[in-house]
């Protein structure tokens, strides 16, 4: 039997003070990010803010500062440029205020055709999104988040106890906020795909938490004499090797996707990768200690079984 960890007996609950401090910082960061998004000053992708994105693939390398100068000279100075290294790919983004009727994408293509005649290129992709669509997407995403959280709290509350549901939801919120905060601090673009990733990691983190809670419930039913803190500690230790093995396999999947999955999958996998790390951490250090903050009516779970 190959084992990463043998039988462990780590006092996770005893370290909850440190965990709460760390998590508090991450949550505050996440809340700042949410406020900035609401104010419109975060790095929102054009699928949310509305605007134009054109990706060109050149035959020869193109210098980003030259490209920027050219665009400025042609009245497209507020464009954001990003290049994808070895492949001579250039992503040009123009946000908000531009409406589709101006045909910004066509203008960008025309500028490059005119100013770089010797460097042939193909349009890899172009997207133009009106501001109304962006608002609708934001709304839809928000509704999806609220509904799924409400559903999860209800389900967990029904299967366990209300405090389990609330703790699981809080821990999941913590993970989403932490990753969002990290994206905000690193000034990474928040696109529809990143939001998909956030929702996925919410699901993942929830799974992780439920696995731990399940074991806590089992232990609460079996041994009533120990203190709740001891029982929770035991449960976390019992599922620790499963937690680590699972996280490890998911990380094994995500690392190649993030490194070599192409530019579209990169941010998606990155968000998930952080999500898995935070999700694993939170089910041990956030969700379980939260139960101790809200002691349940003793024996209730027992009666129900």
């Amino acid at each position: 039997m190959l084992e990463i960890l043998g039988k462990t007996d780590i006092d996770f609950m005893g370290k909850r003070r440190w965990a709460f401090i760390f998590s508090g910082i991450m949550v505050v960061l996440g809340i700042v990010a949410v406020i900035q998004i609401a104010r419109g000053s975060a790095n929102l992708g054009i699928d949310f803010s509305g605007g134009t994105a054109v990706q060109l693939k050149f035959d020869q390398a193109i210098r980003i500062d030259e490209a920027r100068k050219t665009l400025e000279a042609n009245g497209l100075g507020d464009a954001e440029l990003q290049e994808f290294g070895q492949e001579n790919k250039l992503l040009i983004r123009l946000k908000a205020s531009t409406t589709i009727e101006e045909k910004v994408a066509e203008r960008v293509v025309a500028v490059f055709t005119k100013e770089f005649p010797s460097n042939h290129f193909v349009v890899d992709s172009s997207s133009e999104i009106g501001p109304t669509i962006g608002q609708k997407l934001q709304q839809d995403a928000l509704i999806a988040v609220i509904i799924s959280f409400a559903g999860i709290i209800l389900y967990v509350a029904a299967r366990f106890e209300l405090r389990f549901g609330v703790a699981a939801a809080l821990a999941t919120f913590h993970d989403v906020l932490a990753v969002l905060g990290a994206f905000y601090v690193l000034d990474k673009e928040i696109t529809l795909l990143v939001v998909t990733a956030l929702l996925t990691l919410a699901g993942y983190s929830m799974t992780d938490t439920v696995v731990v809670f399940d074991r806590i419930r089992e232990n609460l039913r079996m041994r009533r004499r120990d203190s709740e803190e001891t029982m929770i500690n035991n449960a976390v230790n019992q599922v620790l090797s499963r937690t680590i093995v699972t996280s490890l396999t998911v990380v094994l999947v995500l690392i190649p996707l993030a490194l070599a999955g192409g530019e579209v999958l990169h941010d998606f996998s990155l968000a998930l990768l952080w999500g898995v790390i935070f999700g694993t951490y939170s089910s041990i250090f956030v969700a379980s200690p939260l139960l101790l903050l809200w002691p349940g009516a003793s024996g209730r779970l027992l009666k129900r079984s």
Binding site: M1, L2, Q55, K57, I100, E101, A105, V122, V123, D124, S125, S126, S127, E128, I129, G130, T132, I133, K136, L137, D140, A141, I143, A144, I147, S148, I152, Y155, R159, L192, L193, T196, A197, L199, T200, G203, Y204, M206, T207, D208, V210, V211, D214, R215, E218, V245, T246, T249, V250, L252, V253, P256, L257, L259, A260, G261, G262, V264, L265, L272
Partner: protein, 547 residues
């Protein structure tokens, strides 16, 4: 110990079904099948999303207000005609608001006469408030406004469908979204700009008479460069005769091919519109220049004959979306219900023009609010990289499971393959569209599949540590892990369903694979692997479990 026969049959059935449904998705193999087999098999598999095969995705909004205005404008024209026919001398008939027509006249006695005509226009009602001796104000009824708005979107949908059908795109999607949006998806389109123009063109064809008597008084320039139309309009502002407008003809210099415009003074009154067309085809003229020949329906043909007969030696403008294509002199009464639209066309332009004329005009202009175009090369790159990375990731997990769980790891890997097979089969059966986020969803469910096995194996190990016999340990491990697996899958399923219901586009694609994957996971984890363990236990008396 439970019997394994039934479960084994079920497993085999699921595998066979998955393979059958998947086959059409892999065209080279599907095409090689004999014909009789193809007839009884499903013929449609997974479609690749736009992000994977390239194409355009457009979301458009019908300008409903404008559709109402256009309808009112038409009533104004027909009212003018009727007044002329009945020889009622009015000063002016004009649209004075979005849904309002005002009729001005000198002689107050005409009022009763005109009021009687309301019978011919049941969709309008007279408003009392603007009562004046020399004026009548008509208002389009609210119910009619609603009807026009409703029919505008349906008509636009129909028209766009017609145009795309004639343009020839494999598997286009044209669909209404919400109240007034239209979504158009054209996978694999090579000329996105042309397709977009073809869809967006209103294609309102009108025949109008030039006002040759008044044109000289305006001192219009003979020709102007393209984009300088506004200057001309400014120059003549306030000087236009009542009921006239300036329109521009598009023309090209013979030697340089540069585009320019010729301004004309045109009577606003529409003689005939494209509604009465029955066909439009491209023909080649004597100088090898393409033009579009149109055929009117019976009513249109008679009307056209009357108009041309009444206006011999006058010039008539052929106007498409407020641009003059040609303004020929009518030489003689034209019978037979045919006419030509000449102009300087390329073959492709003439082709597209014929398509939009055949398909009919849009009831109102369209506003593009979302336009995503993915070139075919990016799609190919994405697929290659995505697939490579996924394969690599899969290999890592498979290897890890074998190293960590030995023989049991192999069983888990079998479950993983089974999972993937079922998921792809299910997606094929649903004719789902596979997008990049969809692939991500598949990867995620693979991860969850592994997790289920890890949960079970860790539990079995615990049971073994307690000193239980192999068979009991396996059964105990499965029983104890069962609730956890169900709980964890249901919570993720809740997220997936919420995403499916409220997500749009890429998020929805992700949700579909996630939800399907979760269901299949539960099946393979609880039935698939268990049956293998049971089988092992049955055949040999297992003393030591490799886990």
């Amino acid at each position: 110990m439970k019997k394994v026969g039934g479960r084994l049959t079920l497993l085999a059935l699921v595998v066979v079904m998955s393979v059958i449904f998947f086959i059409p998705s892999y065209q080279p193999f599907y095409q090689a099948l004999p014909g009789w087999l193809k007839r009884v098999m499903p013929n449609k598999g997974i479609t690749l999303g736009l992000d994977l095969q390239g194409g355009i995705h457009l979301v458009m909004e019908v300008d409903e207000e404008r559709a109402v205005e256009i309808a009112v404008d038409r009533s104004v024209v027909s009212l003018q005609d009727l007044l002329v026919d009945k020889k009622i001398p009015v000063e002016s008939v004009a649209r004075t608001g979005p849904t309002q027509i005002t009729i001005q006249f000198q002689n107050a006695e005409l009022k009763a006469q005109i009021q009687k005509m309301t019978d011919d226009y049941p969709t309008f009602s007279e408003t009392e408030s603007a009562g004046s001796a020399n004026r009548l104000v008509w208002e389009l009824r609210a119910i009619e406004v609603k009807r026009i708005k409703d029919s505008a979107i349906n008509q636009a949908l129909e028209t766009i469908r017609n145009r795309i059908d004639q343009f020839g795109v494999a598997e286009p999607m044209v669909q209404r979204q919400g109240l007034k949006q239209i979504v158009v998806q054209l996978p694999g389109v090579k000329e996105p700009k042309r397709a977009r123009d073809l869809i967006k063109e209103t294609a309102l064809l009108e025949f109008k008479m030039l006002d040759e008597d008044n044109q000289p008084k305006l001192d219009l320039p003979a020709r102007i460069p393209k984009d300088k139309e506004a200057d001309v309009l400014k120059q003549v502002e306030g000087k236009l005769p009542e009921g006239d407008q300036i329109l521009f003809e598009r023309a090209f210099e013979k030697d340089t091919g540069r585009e320019y415009r010729i301004p004309y003074l045109v009577k606003k009154r529409v003689m005939l519109t494209g509604d009465v067309l029955s066909d439009a085809r491209v023909s080649i003229g004597q100088f090898n220049d393409p033009y579009v020949s149109i055929t009117f329906d019976a009513k249109g043909g008679r009307e056209f004959e009357r108009i041309t007969g009444d206006n011999v030696k006058k010039r008539m403008a052929v106007v498409l979306d407020n641009t003059i294509y040609s303004a020929p002199v009518i030489q003689d009464r034209i019978t037979g219900g045919r006419a030509q639209i000449t102009g300087t066309f390329s073959m492709q332009e003439a082709n597209d023009l014929a398509i939009v004329l055949r398909a009919g005009a849009l009831p109102a202009p369209l506003k593009i609010i979302q336009d995503l175009t993915v070139g075919p090369s990016l799609g190919k790159d994405s697929i290659e990289k995505g697939v490579q990375a996924t394969l690599f990731a899969g290999a890592m997990v498979v290897a890890f499971m074998i190293v960590y769980y030995r023989m049991s790891g192999v069983i888990a890997d079998c479950a993983l393959v089974l999972n993937l097979l079922c998921l792809i089969g299910a997606l094929s059966a649903l004719n789902a569209t596979l997008t990049l986020p969809g692939i991500a969803g598949i990867v995620l469910t693979m991860g969850m599949g592994v997790d289920s096995n890890v949960l079970i194996f860790e539990r079995i190990r615990e049971e073994l540590r307690l000193g239980k016999a192999v068979r009991l340990a396996v059964d105990g491990g499965y029983d104890k892990a069962l609730l956890t697996i169900v709980d964890s899958h249901v919570t993720t399923l809740i997220t997936g369903v919420a995403l499916f219901l409220f997500g749009t586009g890429p998020i929805k694609g992700f949700a579909v694979t996630l939800c399907l994957g979760i269901g299949i996971n539960l099946f393979t984890a609880l039935i698939g692997t268990k049956v293998i363990f049971d089988l092992l236990n049955q055949r040999h008396k297992v003393e030591q479990l490799s886990i």
